[in-house]
């Protein structure tokens, strides 16, 4: 019996495609963020509130992934920014091919920010590179403080953690300090913004995105 050394990435195809997308985003100086969380943690609501508030002259587009329905795209389209739904038909994550396909009829010089709302799932999406600059993880105060310890992979890979639904803190047995400290245990440098659908933290979050966009435009933020 003989052995052949292979040493290749399993998700080689996805990786290649993600690298091609990344190159295109770099060329057109587009900021791309990939938002990941459990189902029900408030991804779509956060984005709704963000878009309502965001300067309408900003050239922002969104891709939103779900197993079924166009509900999220319908909700997000109300603010007037271009939105497309990706229906995965059962697949628990978005991959680079889905991104490429759904971007095909949006000219890359027509927008500056691409926000990708991944399928609600804390595990699988963390394995798939979509060509993004940054991953953002959302943890809501109606979940457990130990999510960062239970699902470390996504917290390690995310630049920013959004602690959502903080307006509910008085009503739920959730320690924001413990959740933040758990996130920092698995990722000491993680940035954290607290938000709620009532408006808490939204200006800070929009400023965070605009600072990242400025860094992409100036060439300071380059995706690896």
């Amino acid at each position: 019996m003989s052995q052949i050394t292979v040493e290749k990435k399993v998700l080689n195809e996805n990786q290649k495609l993600a690298a091609e997308l990344r190159e295109k985003f770099r060329e057109h100086k587009i900021l791309v963020v990939n938002i990941i969380s459990s189902p029900g943690s408030g991804k779509t609501t956060l984005l709704e509130r963000t878009l309502e508030r965001w300067d309408k002259s900003k050239r922002v587009v969104l891709l939103t992934g779900d197993l079924q329905t166009e509900n999220d795209a319908d909700r997000l389209a109300k603010a007037g920014f271009p939105v497309k739904q990706i229906i995965t038909g059962g697949t628990c994550h978005l991959d680079a091919k889905m991104i490429e396909k759904h971007l095909a009829d949006w000219p890359l010089d027509s927008f500056d920010v691409l926000i990708i709302e991944n399928v609600g799932n804390l595990v699988c999406p963390s394995s798939y590179d979509l060509g993004e600059h940054l991953k953002i993880v959302i943890l809501s105060v109606t979940e457990g403080e130990d999510k960062p310890l239970k699902y470390p992979s996504i917290f390690v890979k995310s630049e920013l953690m959004i602690l959502s639904k903080v307006d509910l803190l008085p009503y739920v047995p959730f320690s924001a300090e413990l959740a933040k400290s758990n996130a920092r245990t698995v990722h000491p440098g993680i940035e954290i913004i607290e938000t709620s659908s009532k408006g808490d933290g939204l200006d800070q979050w929009i400023k965070w995105l605009e600072d990242k966009l400025a860094a992409v435009k100036s060439g300071e933020l380059v995706s690896a």
Binding site: M1, K9, Y128, V186, P188
Partner: protein, 122 residues
């Protein structure tokens, strides 16, 4: 793309990606028969090893790959300290340097999701 109804977690698409690459490799080696594939799975890869084994069994069943054995090497997360160059295993996700206390250390292992090798039947 192979598809097994009812098994939808991403370990299934990972198994499919592995077998797609093995199909290709088999062609490159003149149709050689592979008896085993060795995968390397890091603890940060987001892949559950039990799901992966289960998905593998489901996907290879009743196919040409049915007799293919699966070996998985699990890789722990390891960090390097940029200050004192110490290398260490990140136990319980604690990534601060155990020697000098530096908080911002660099991940050097644990993100692997690789096909390491295949064994060829004589």
């Amino acid at each position: 793309m192979r598809f097994v109804p009812g098994v939808l977690m991403h370990e299934l698409s990972i198994v499919s990606s592995v077998l797609d690459q093995l199909d290709e490799l088999k062609k490159q080696h003149g149709g050689a028969r592979f008896s085993k594939v060795g995968l390397r799975v890091g603890e940060l890869s987001g892949v559950d090893v039990d799901c992966l084994r289960f998905g593998f069994e489901c996907v290879v069943k009743d196919t040409d790959w049915e007799t293919l054995a699966l070996e998985i090497e699990q890789v722990s997360r390891r960090q390097r300290c940029p200050q004192c160059n110490a290398e260490f295993k990140a136990e319980n996700w604690a990534t601060a340097c155990p020697l000098c206390g530096e908080a911002a250390t660099i991940t050097i292992a644990g993100e692997e999701l690789q096909i390491a090798f295949v064994e060829v039947e004589e």
